[in-house]
Assembly symmetry: D2
C-alpha cells in the first residue's frame, strides 16, 4: 500500500529486457548509437512529424535544459505557482537559465488560466529595462494537482504566449498519463496546440531513467547537444538511454503502462470517494489523487501500513481547503500498482470512515 | 578492432545482472534505497575509512559538481592543460562553478609537476583583487596521456595545494585502471596522499552509467545533495545507480575489469612496440596507448578496419613530436577487449611495418 | 512640478564641491585613497561601531553584491513582493547570486509582517533537497510604498530570520530619509535590530553616484572586494566615490538633505489630503507619496505640466484599491524640491478637486 | 615621480567643469538625459557612422558586458594570454558570459598574430560537442605591453575571426592613446578594420569614471540596456556619465589628453634608453613603457621616491628576458604627467647608470 510516488517502482520488464538486449558488442557513444536513432524516429512517428529529440536521464535535467534553450539569461519563465519547475527542482531552472526568474501564476487545480497568464504578462512589459523580459511559458501536463489541460486550453495559452513573443515548454513527466487519459493524438496536446518543446518523460512510466527533450521544430534544437554536454547530461554509453526510449515507444507500450496507472488511480479514487467524509477537491484525471481525509481515516491508513504524503497547496479556494479534523494527502499510482493494494487501501479507509460516520 | 574508447563497450554481465535483480518491488527514490547505502558502505571499505558518496550518471557531472563544491564562484581551478575538465567537458566546470577559471598547467605526459604547479600558483597571488583566487587542483588519475601519478607524486602536489589553501580533486574516470596498474591500496593514491574529493568512475570500466562523487571528509560533502538536484543530476529511481556501484565494488569486480583492460593495453603496446618505426612517446601504464605510427602502418590499420582516433597534443617535447611521415594516434582497451582483436591489430601493423622497413 | 523620482535631481553643492576639491594630484586607485578611508571612518561613527564598507556607484550593484555575499548559489532570498530587488532590478540579484530564487512576500503598505515571513519560510523547509534553502531576508527601509519599519518591527523580523539561519540585508536606497523621519540612531534600525548588511544609498539624497555596502560585522565583508571587482563595480579612480560619501556624512549633511525631502513630501501630502476626493491609502512617512486621485485631478495636474508616474500595486486590500474614476499615482520629493513647486502642484489639484466636488 | 598607472590622476579640468555645469535642474535618469544623447552623437561623429553606445562607469564593466553580448553562455572568448580581460578582471568576463572560457593566445609584445589565432581556433573546432564553441575575439588597443596593432593587423585578425563565425571586441581602455599615436581615423582601427564592438575608455585619459560600450552595428546593441541594468551598471543619475563623455569628445579634447600622455612616455623612454644598461624589450608606442633596468638603477629610482610596478611577463622570448642583475618594470604616463617629473626620473636613472657602467 505504497502510494508515495510513481518513482518507487522499478522498470517494466519490456524496457529492462531492451536494455539487456542492447548490451552486447560495441556501440558509438554519446547518443550516436542505433537505438537512440530508433528512439528519435519513433518519437517522430508518435508526434506525426519530424522532431529533434535529445535524451537525458532525469526529468529535472530535461526541464531545466529545455527552459534554458527557450529563455536566455535575464528573462522570465512563467509557470503555475506550484509547478515542479518552480517548487521542486531546487533552483535547477534558475541555474540552467543563468539566473532566470521563475514567475508563479496562481490557478485552481494546478492549472493556469488565460486571465492568470495575462495578469502575469502584464507585470513584465516589453522594453521596460528594470524588468526581466518574458521568454517562456511552462505548462505541466499532467499538472501538479493531477489535472489535465484540454487541447483547447493549451491552444489558448500557447496563442497568448506566442502573441507576446513567449515560447512554450511542456513539462511532460507524466505525458503518457495525459495522452492515455485524454485519448487524444499526442500531437493534439503539443505542437498542434502550439507547444514548442516537450520534456517527454519515460521514467515515471516504466523506464529506469530516460527523458526526451523533444523539439517540434527541429531547427530550434540548435545548440542542445552543447547545452546537454555542458550540463553534464550527456550519458557516455548513450545506448542505455536509446534502448529505453525505443522500447517505451514500441507497440504502444508507453500508453499501456500509463493506462494501467490511470485505471488504478480511478479505482482508488472511486473507492475513496465512497468513504464517508472523504472529499476530492480536484477532479481525478490521471494517476494522481489528492483526497481530503477525515483525520481518523488518515490515522487508520497509516496504522495499516499505508504510505503516502501529506499535502499542502496554494491552489485551493478557501472554502474547499481542509477544515478542522481534515487532512489533505497525495496518492500516486504507478504502471505496476496492483489492484489488491488499491482494494486493501480502500477497505481500510472504508472501515475507518464507517466508524467515524 | 575498435579501440576508439572504453565507452563503446556495454556493461559487464555482473553489473547488468545486479540491475535486473534490483528491479522488483518498491524502493525509496533519490538515492535513499538500500543498494545506494550498500554502495556507500563498500566505498568506505575500499578506502579504509568512512566516506560520503553521492552517485550520478555521468563523469562530466561528477567532475563539475565536485569542483563546484571546492571552488566557489570567482575562483581558479588548476589542472593539466589537457585535462578532461578543461578540454573535453564543453565548459561544464565553468558552468557549475559559476564562472570559475580553469587554469591549464603544462607538463609532459599529461602530468603536472611541482614546478609547473608552483608557477601556476604564482600567477594568482592571494589577496590581489584583480585576480581570481586559487581554490582547487584537479588531478587526473589515469591522466589524459594514459600515464599515472605515483603516491609520492600525488602527495607532493597535495601538500603544495593545501599549503596554498587549495583543495584537491581527483578525476578518477579510470581510477580502477590506476589502482590495478599501480597495485596500491586505493587510499594510498587518494586521501592518504591528500586528495579531498574523488570522482570515482565505474562507467568506463563496466557499468552502464555510474560515478561516485566521493568525499574523504564526510563533513565536506555538505550541500552536495542540493548541488546534485540543482544540476538535475539526482536520478529519480536511484536504485539503478546504487545497484551498479554496489556490484562494481563487490568481490573486487572493479579491479578484475580494470586488470583485463590494462592487460589488453599492455599486449597491444608490446605488440606495436615491436613494429619497425613505431614509437611510444609516453609510457603505457594503464589502458590507453598513444603510439606514433609510420603513415603506412596507420593506413594499413585503417584499411583493415582498425578504428581509433588521431591524436594531437601539447604535452610532448618538440624532439619527441611526430615528424614527417609519422602520425600519433590514441588506442584504448576496455574491460571486454578480446585478445583476438589485439593480436589481429598487431599483426596488421607488423606486416605494414615490415614492408616499409 | 516634476515628482517622478529623486534621481532626476543633480548633486548637492557640498558633495559636488568635495569632488572638485579631491581632484588635484595623484591618489591611489580602487578605493585605496584617503577619502574612501575617511568615508569608512565616518560610517563607523554614524553607526557607533566599526563597520566594513565597500563603495559602488549604483544601488542595484550595491543590493545585488550584498545579497550575493549572503546567499550562495542555489538559495532563497526573501523580500516583499514589490521590493526593488525583486521587481525593479532586471534580475540583478538572480544574476549575482548565481541563480538564486527571490521569494516575494505579500504585505500591505510594502511591509513584510512576521506572519508573512513565517509562511514564506515554511515553504522552504531545511534539508528538503527539492527546495532551495533559505539564506537571506531583504528589508527595504524606506519601503517601496514609502512606509517605514519601526526598530521593533525590524528586530522581530531579524530575530525570526536568524533563528532560521537566514541573514538580513537592508536595502537603504533611501536610508537617510528613514533615519530622518524616525529620528532614531542609525544603529537602532540596523545592527542593534539585527541587520547584517546595509546597502546605504547616497545617490538619491544628493550624491552623483555613490552607495556603501556596509557590513556591521567587518569579518563578514570577507571577499566583497573580489565580488565587487568581478562584478565590474570597482571604480578605477576610487577617490570620486570616497569624496562623495565623506562629504555626504560630514556635519550631518546627509540628514539635512533627507529632512528637506521629507518635509517637502509632508507639505505635498498635507496639501493633497485636503483636496476633495483625494485619498492616501498608505501613511506618508518619508519622501514618497502614493495618493489616489480623482481622474479629473489627475488630468488637471498633467495638463498643468505635473510630472509623476501612475502606480499599480499588489499591496493594497481590495476595499482600499482605486475605484472607478480614481487613479493611483506616485510622487517623490528630493533634497532640492522647491516649496513653490509643491504649492503650485497642490493649488492645481485643489482647483480641480473643488470643481469636481 | 609616480608612474604606477594612469588611474592615479584625477579628471581633466574641462571634464570636471562639464560635470559641474550639468548639475543644475532636473534631468531624466538612466541615460535618457540630453548629455548622454550628445555623447552618443559625438561618438557617431568620431567614428564617421551611426553607432549605438551604452555608457558605464568602469572598464571591467564595459569589457565584461560587451563580451557577454557577443559570447553566449558556454562559448569561448579568445584574447592575448596577458590581456586585461583574462588576467586582471577577477573573472568578470567569465561571470558576465555565464561561464565562458577565456582562451589566452601567446604572442610577443602583447600582440596576437594570425598564426597564434589560427592555432587557438584549431583547438575549438565547430560542431565538436565536447568543446565550447568559438564566439568572440578580444583585441586590446593599446595592448598590455604598450604596443599597437596597425590597421592592417587588425583587419587580418578580424577577417579570420569573421570567417570562423567569431565576433570581434576591442578593449580600448587606452583607445585614445592608440588613435593619437597611430594618427589614424578612429574608424580605421575599428569598424573599417572589422571590429564589431569597442569598449571605448575615457577614465584613464581624463574622465572621472566613464566608458562607452560602442556598437558599430547599432542593431547589434540589442539587449545591452537590459544587460547593463542586470549587471547593476545603469547609473541612476545618468547625466554624470553623459556630461563626461560629451566633454571628452568635444573639440578633440580626448586626443589632446592622449597626446600629452604619449609625449610624456616618449620623453621618458628616450631618456631611459640613453642610460647605460637599460633595455627596451618592446617598442614604446603609446603611454606605457616596460624597460628592463639594471638593479642599481631600479634601487636608485626607488630610493629617490620613484613609484612604479615590477613586471613579469610571459610575452618575452627567452633571450630577451631579464637576466641576472636586471629587473623589468612598468611605467605609465597620464594626461597630466609633468615634464619635470619625467626629467627628474631620467636624471636619477642616468646618475645611477653612469656609476654602474
Amino acid at each position: 500500500m505504497n502510494f508515495t510516488s510513481d518513482n518507487i517502482a522499478g522498470a517494466s520488464p519490456e524496457i529492462l529486457q531492451a536494455i539487456v538486449a542492447g548490451n552486447g558488442g560495441v556501440a558509438a557513444p554519446y547518443g550516436m548509437d542505433p537505438w537512440t536513432a530508433e528512439a528519435e524516429a519513433r518519437l517522430s512517428d508518435v508526434f506525426e512529424r519530424d522532431v529533434a529529440a535529445v535524451l537525458v536521464a532525469t526529468g529535472t535535467g530535461s526541464n531545466a535544459l529545455a527552459l534554458a534553450a527557450l529563455a536566455p539569461p535575464g528573462t522570465a519563465v512563467f509557470c503555475h505557482l506550484e509547478a515542479h519547475v518552480i517548487e521542486d527542482e531546487c533552483g535547477a531552472p534558475e541555474f540552467f537559465t543563468g539566473g532566470g526568474k521563475l514567475v508563479g501564476i496562481p490557478g485552481e487545480g494546478g492549472k493556469i488560466t488565460p486571465d492568470g497568464f495575462e495578469a502575469a504578462l502584464a507585470r513584465f512589459p516589453r522594453g521596460i529595462v528594470r524588468q526581466v523580459q518574458p521568454a517562456a511559458l511552462s505548462l505541466s501536463q499532467v499538472t501538479e494537482a493531477g489535472t489535465l489541460y484540454t487541447p483547447d486550453e493549451i491552444r489558448a495559452l500557447c496563442d497568448m504566449a506566442h502573441a507576446a513573443g513567449v515560447a512554450v515548454h511542456m513539462d511532460g513527466a507524466r505525458f503518457a498519463n495525459a495522452v492515455a487519459a485524454l485519448d487524444v493524438a499526442p500531437a493534439d496536446i503539443t505542437w498542434r496546440a502550439g507547444v514548442d518543446v516537450l520534456s517527454f518523460g519515460a521514467t515515471k512510466n516504466g523506464a529506469i531513467a530516460c527523458e526526451a527533450i523533444t523539439f517540434f521544430d527541429p531547427a530550434r534544437a540548435g545548440d542542445m547537444l552543447f547545452r546537454r554536454k555542458r550540463g553534464g547530461h550527456t550519458v557516455s554509453k548513450g545506448r542505455f538511454l536509446g534502448t529505453q526510449m525505443a522500447a517505451f515507444l514500441t507497440d504502444g507500450h508507453w500508453l499501456d503502462l500509463a493506462r494501467h496507472a490511470n485505471r488504478a488511480a480511478r479505482r482508488l479514487a472511486d473507492g475513496l470517494a465512497a468513504v464517508p467524509g472523504v472529499r476530492m477537491p480536484w477532479p481525478v484525471q490521471a494517476n494522481e489523487i489528492f483526497p481530503i481525509l477525515p483525520a481518523a481515516v488518515d490515522d487508520a491508513l497509516k496504522a495499516a501500513g499505508g504510505r503516502y504524503y501529506p499535502w499542502t497547496t496554494r491552489s485551493l479556494a478557501a472554502q474547499d481547503a481542509p477544515g478542522a479534523g481534515e487532512r489533505m494527502v497525495r496518492l500516486i499510482c504507478a504502471f505496476d500498482t496492483a489492484d489488491e493494494a488499491v482494494d486493501e487501501f480502500v477497505a481500510v479507509a472504508a472501515r475507518a470512515g464507517a466508524v467515524q460516520a
